[in-house]
Symmetry: C2
Subunit: 472 residues, 2 copies
Amino acid sequence: MGDAYDVVVIGAGSTGENVADRAVRGGLTAVMVEAELIGGDCSYWACMPSKVLLRGPEALAAARAIPGAAGAVTGGVDAAATLRRRDAFAAHWSDTGQVEWARSRGIDVVRGRGRVTGPRRVLVTGAEGDRDLTARHAVAVCTGSVPALPPIDGLADARPWTTREATSAQEIPASMIVLGGGAAGCELATAYAALGAHVSIVEAADRLLPNMEAFAGELVEAALRDRGVDVRTGTRVTAVGRDGDGPTTVFTTGGDLGAQVLLVSTGRRPRLDGLGLDAFGLSEAAWLPVDDTCRVAGVDDGWLYAVGDVNGRHLFTHQGKYQARLCGDAIVAAAHGQPIDTTDWSAHAATADRLAAPAVVFTDPQVATVGRTQAQAAADGLDTRAVDYEIGSVAGAALRADGYTGHARIIVDTARRVIVGATLVGPDVGELIHSATIAIVGEVPLERLWHAVPAYPTVSEIWLRLLEAYGL
Amino acid sequence: MGDAYDVVVIGAGSTGENVADRAVRGGLTAVMVEAELIGGDCSYWACMPSKVLLRGPEALAAARAIPGAAGAVTGGVDAAATLRRRDAFAAHWSDTGQVEWARSRGIDVVRGRGRVTGPRRVLVTGAEGDRDLTARHAVAVCTGSVPALPPIDGLADARPWTTREATSAQEIPASMIVLGGGAAGCELATAYAALGAHVSIVEAADRLLPNMEAFAGELVEAALRDRGVDVRTGTRVTAVGRDGDGPTTVFTTGGDLGAQVLLVSTGRRPRLDGLGLDAFGLSEAAWLPVDDTCRVAGVDDGWLYAVGDVNGRHLFTHQGKYQARLCGDAIVAAAHGQPIDTTDWSAHAATADRLAAPAVVFTDPQVATVGRTQAQAAADGLDTRAVDYEIGSVAGAALRADGYTGHARIIVDTARRVIVGATLVGPDVGELIHSATIAIVGEVPLERLWHAVPAYPTVSEIWLRLLEAYGL
């Protein structure tokens, strides 16, 4: 037996931190094993740095849209100052603060690579020597995901950027080709174009943001084109070529493109390499299969959990943290011999993963979604009606910006008369979507929502307009 | 008998328009009587113009708070351009568009002063001659409110500005004293200071926004002081003096103040003069007493309604429109012999007036509230717990602005474990409050709200922090 803890967490990103935190909060002991920085991708190479790159241009665009303010904006964004702010938000890629947080919460940290060597056993190999950890109750795998390079001829040899390089770059390249028009690709194309790069974006599907309602990708595409981005949808990459450190050439079904930097943001895969889970019948190539408490299916005695990106339910920091809170509480309950409640919306079931997960794409306009698209609701067998409204027609939006362009759609389950999905596109709508999230999670009927009065004149008045459009 | 309609609406502001619209939508005929501009104060002399004055400065301040964007902001707001935008939003004080809207909805408009001459009878006196209107089903008084000058020696003779002059001014005075530190006073002080006036604000209570949670007024006061506004709380005005068109002197318990313009925003009274309601036992000096359907109490046969400001339930455009929708539907139901449901949250009971009315003060930082303050909840006999969180500690807020200052409080009914009130202070929080409104109106228990995941990194993550702080 090595060091014994109640809970061993492999991967100390935001998800792992939350599993450990809830465990400790519930009276258990916990250790986090981490091979890189405590805090994880979100803090250093994803959400936080990318949003810093986007915020300055967004604020200047907002001011430029208002006569009376526009004249005071005499230049573009300062790329160097923006990168310095980004460095600060990434804590200069130091996890000292996160380590202090863990200590303050009573969570131990072990640096090194974790490997599951047997039931409830984790061997950590690190610079400070090996540690053999035992988990009395649970091992939680929270190792996240890594960018997956698609199998394109010459791509790996061209040493492309992934989102990691794009969020931590110290210089803005003169030109960039972005492969993949999903959320990350659209955000980084927006950021780099604003910071001075000439940007092209290539997407195989017939529109950007292909998993969302069609109008989302269409509005983002229009905005990117307005800012000089070369948007190529319905375009497949056939090969990539690069000579040494020179520019990269991308050969596509729509012609050849060249740029100083190629950024690949076409997808991610679970980070499972070397974790030893194959010994438990689990593939290293597939998202770990879990139930709503994040317990891994098919492992005897139920001691193994997979939380966050690594289970593939959603690749969002907030959704990983949500799973972590509920999973951590489930581990605590089980350790105390209490029942685990797996019914929908119970304290241990990550129901929102299936019914009410939000996402915000921090492009300009922003895209904010929660729950199901109309297509997803139909696939789930629901009778729905989509209700649409032009956000710019709301007084609050017109005040916010001349020429405000945005669109709102809610998906109503006509049998239960509750909202099951919403998509908003427009400047700053990222803060509006939580209203829809609460309406969906709370299963608040339309007749009750009719009493939820939006303050005048806010953009939130779209709620009134959507309900009126439904027929209330 | 004169012209007969199902519904006669006196006062064609946003409230009256909505009563008429719902009536027509329900198959009734409706006429609106208006002595001034169709569209009312909100469009021309209140919400819309004041928010235009505030939006430009707010957007520039947002950009200045972001390294990388701040350097591009080289000046202040352009007052002349701002006033031109304001003119456009006030439709240059022409109601042509509103008249067209009414026509398109099948609502008749009669210009002139309405007077209730008997049950269901309204005499209109206007430039085009008199009209004697009969209402088959209901007369709805939607005449709103007017600024009330407090009884201060010399005040009326000094011809002070009211909110009407302040929102329609064609020049920015060099200096201004604002009497009254409520929502309108704080907004107009913020606007005029940003547009170049030297502003003082005098409030008798010991803080600004005295009807709100204390931290709201404190944070707004700090921001006003930062912008050079002379804030005098706990200060009573004893007299006002003015010579001709010269500057005005305000004598207070804290010394004398002088300024080019004196703006009074100390309160409002119902606009009832000349309506003839004294014949029905109603005072012209008091808000008209109504039930939750906005039916006036004590009038035989129940044909008289008072909707919006004039009933004093709330002096907000959005709340007047809300009452109008429900009251209009109640009138339609009664006309069709259908039952009126007056239980809480039913289709005809303006329950949100009592339990979930929102308000946004468009200062910078903004203040957004809904439902009850802690003091109000205690007065209502509820056992509550206030939960507080510094909004600036949320990642999304830190990204939004360096040095983001803001505060959030929710009031939890500990017996039912639902939220009954919320106050947010911070830049742009006006769009965040609708989440709380839906949570309150939907009576969504905390345990269910725990599943409403805020997208990361948005300011909405305060929801998670507040629930964690409560103990979830």
